[in-house]
């Protein structure tokens, strides 16, 4: 097995909420790896800590109110990002690790041309001249499939459609050929057809540039076609982690099960059985609890159809549920030890 590109261990990012209503443990002991060149999907409902996890990797958490707890560990190519000096950190940001965000509308600066915004990272990290950076910006626009890049380079973000803007965001992120691209809900704000185009583009660029991609989404349907492995997050923790095929075929954690049931699928009638065979889209009852008060025991137990006494009392660790190589599939669920309790929903 190759050495991971990014190794996240026991990441804890807490937020101090106003008025002393407690500390929000948005990310609470998350560990996972990203290997070179692979696509890792991170999935969960909003409020699960996906975005905070991704922002923590580049130390973009606003401090205060947020802070990454001591003991957390984010290793990129053998260096702990959390202890980097500001200068070293800047050399990683936008250069080795780049990021694109959910809202291409608000993530681009409205008062600069897209060309300037793309060129900026190249000027800062690769010390290109303004003219060379501009040429690079045009190349990048072409690479991400924007027509008339020579003209578009001087346009302002508001002159472009949402899909175009997200392409610009991608161009901006990839201008320095990063080794890791973190894409935080890159398609959520877009129309369905544009979504597919953007995902296709990401996939093509990943193949061309050989980078690793961390794809963060609430939609398992998005990861199905793109990710090699999937990490499922719930309540600030990793609850299940497996290769994509394995996860879709044998989900272990009831939360993953629920998420899968919420994906409209045409190709897997067996899964649609879980919706009760009535073809109705199933969604998980209840909602993600507040990060200031995670439930005791298993954090999913209030919403879990199988929960029993042990789930309420004792928090499960990540247990090995692999069918093949050990450690390839883990889940934070007592069902791994007592599979017979997985009964049909009442």
């Amino acid at each position: 097995m190759t050495e991971p590109l990014l190794r996240v261990r026991d990441l804890k990012t807490y937020f101090v909420t106003e008025q002393g209503s407690g500390t929000a443990r948005a990310v609470d002991g998350v560990s996972f790896d990203v290997r070179p060149g692979e696509t890792l999907g991170i999935v969960g409902e909003s409020g699960c800590g996906k975005t905070v996890t991704s922002l923590s990797i580049l130390r973009l958490i606003p401090e205060p109110p947020g802070h990454i707890r001591p003991g957390s560990f984010i290793e990129f190519e053998g260096r702990n990002i959390l202890t980097l000096e500001p200068k070293e950190l800047r050399a990683v940001r936008g250069n080795q690790i780049a990021m694109i965000f959910q809202e291409p509308m608000t993530s681009l600066n409205p008062v600069f041309t897209v060309g300037d915004q793309i060129a900026e990272a190249a000027i800062v990290h690769q010390h290109l001249s303004r003219a060379a950076a501009r040429r690079r910006a045009i190349e990048m626009l072409q690479l991400v499939g924007i027509p008339d890049p020579e003209e578009r380079v001087d346009h302002y973000p508001h002159q472009m459609s949402g899909g175009m803007r997200q392409r610009v965001m991608i161009a901006m992120a990839l201008v320095c050929h990063p080794k890791l691209l973190i894409a935080d809900e890159p398609t959520t704000a877009l129309d369905v057809t544009i979504q597919a185009q953007i995902l296709e583009l990401l996939e093509r660029l990943q193949a061309e540039l050989g980078m690793a991609v961390m794809l963060i989404t609430h939609d398992l349907g998005v990861v199905a076609g793109t990710a090699d492995r999937v990490v499922v997050m719930y309540a600030g923790q990793v609850v299940e982690q497996a290769p994509t095929v394995e996860l879709f075929a044998h989900p272990v954690h009831p939360y993953t099960e629920g998420l899968l049931a919420a994906v409209p699928r045409l190709d897997a009638p067996s899964l649609s059985l879980r919706t009760g065979g009535r073809g109705r889209l199933h969604s998980i009852p209840g909602q993600v609890p507040a990060a200031t008060a995670w439930p005791d025991g298993c954090r999913f137990h209030p919403r879990c159809p199988y929960a029993w006494d042990r789930c309420r009392a004792e928090e499960p660790p990540l247990l090995d549920a692999s069918q093949g190589d050990a450690g390839t599939h883990t889940a934070r669920c007592w069902l791994v030890t007592e599979p017979q309790r997985r009964t049909r929903r009442p």
Binding site: R90, G94, A98, F101, P110, A121
Partner: protein, 324 residues
């Protein structure tokens, strides 16, 4: 774009005309007449009549108004009764003083105000932010003329660092025509400009802090950080460029503030600018100086907001394109 400018200019002219007209009728309706100041009651009725005829005050008010407008169209602002000279000359003497006062005050206002506001926003909720915030709130709440009095008391009366008033030393520098006299002028300018500038800066700082805070939370600022830019560049290029857009509106609003402040500050420091001229003219019922001052002040206010709008259109690409 051009059509828009033409419309705005036309509207501005109409506004100024309305202000002048209102002022004209109100000040003519005011009690007392320019030739009967309380101190010189010895004027004989014959002289008074002659003077009234000479200045056309014996005609009916509408007639006088039409006459005034006709003269105005030719660029003549009339004659001051009290100063016995053309109003245009009196204004031309006073305006540079107010202009330099306002310019110096604006300089203090904007540099100090912007710097403080940005500093406070970047260090939100730090001790420095809280202390500066409260100081700014207090200074912003002071009556301008009272701050003038306090500064006058402290720096002129007690410390003797600055002169107590006037635009220049009347003996050594009756007019500003040499380098020492220029320095003397600046020396005289310091306290009045500081008075106006500090109150303005406090307001600007409060405004800019809020604008900057709003912008710092925007996602494009995070994008800029994610690119690996220096914090200085993130804040001063990516954030500030956006946070300066609302500030432009403030620039337009600064004109009325400065003019209002000038009326009082010029009185405190015997600064012979527009404000002092206007106040004296109102008290002495010097009709055409009053209307002339109304013309100039309203023109400056209207021009200020027009300039702010134009500046905004230039600075904000979103508006620029829409207007083109």
């Amino acid at each position: 774009m051009i059509a828009w400018v033409v419309r705005r200019v036309a509207a501005s002219v109409a506004i100024i005309w309305a202000v002048v007209t209102l002022t004209f009728f109100v000040i003519h309706a005011a009690r007392g007449s320019p030739f009967l100041p309380e101190q010189s009651q010895s004027v004989s009725p014959e002289t008074l009549d002659r003077l009234r005829r000479q200045f056309g005050l014996d005609r009916s008010l509408p007639e006088q108004y039409v006459l005034y407008l006709r003269n105005l169209a030719r660029g003549e602002l009339g004659e001051s009764f009290v100063l016995r000279r053309p109003v245009a000359d009196a204004l031309a003497d006073a305006m540079p003083h107010t202009f330099f006062l306002a310019l110096a005050a604006l300089l203090i206002d904007f540099t100090a105000g912007l710097a403080l506001g940005i500093y406070q926003a970047v260090r939100e909720r730090s001790v420095g932010d809280v202390v500066l915030g409260n100081v700014a709130l207090f200074v912003n709440s002071m009556p301008t003329f009272w701050l003038g009095l306090v500064l006058l008391l402290g720096f002129a009366q007690w410390l003797h660092w600055f002169p107590t008033g006037g635009p220049s030393d009347p003996v050594l520098c009756p007019r500003v025509d040499s380098l020492p006299c220029l320095l003397d002028f600046f020396w005289h300018l310091t306290l009045p400009a500081l008075t106006l500038g500090l109150v303005g800066a406090a307001g600007t700082a409060r405004f800019q802090r809020a604008a900057m805070l709003e912008v710092i939370r925007q996602e494009y600022v995070r994008t800029a950080r994610a690119k690996g830019l220096r914090e200085g560049r993130v804040l001063l290029v990516h954030a500030l460029r956006n946070a300066l857009l609302p500030f432009i509106t403030l620039v337009g609003l600064a004109f009325p503030f400065l003019l209002t402040g000038a009326v009082l500050v010029e009185t405190v420091y015997s600064w012979p600018g527009m404000g002092l001229l206007a106040v004296r003219a109102i008290l002495q019922r010097d009709y055409y100086v009053v209307t002339g001052a109304a013309l100039v002040t309203s023109a400056m206010v209207v021009l200020g907001s027009l300039m702010a709008d134009l500046l905004y259109a230039v600075a904000d690409p979103r508006i620029r394109v829409r207007g083109a």
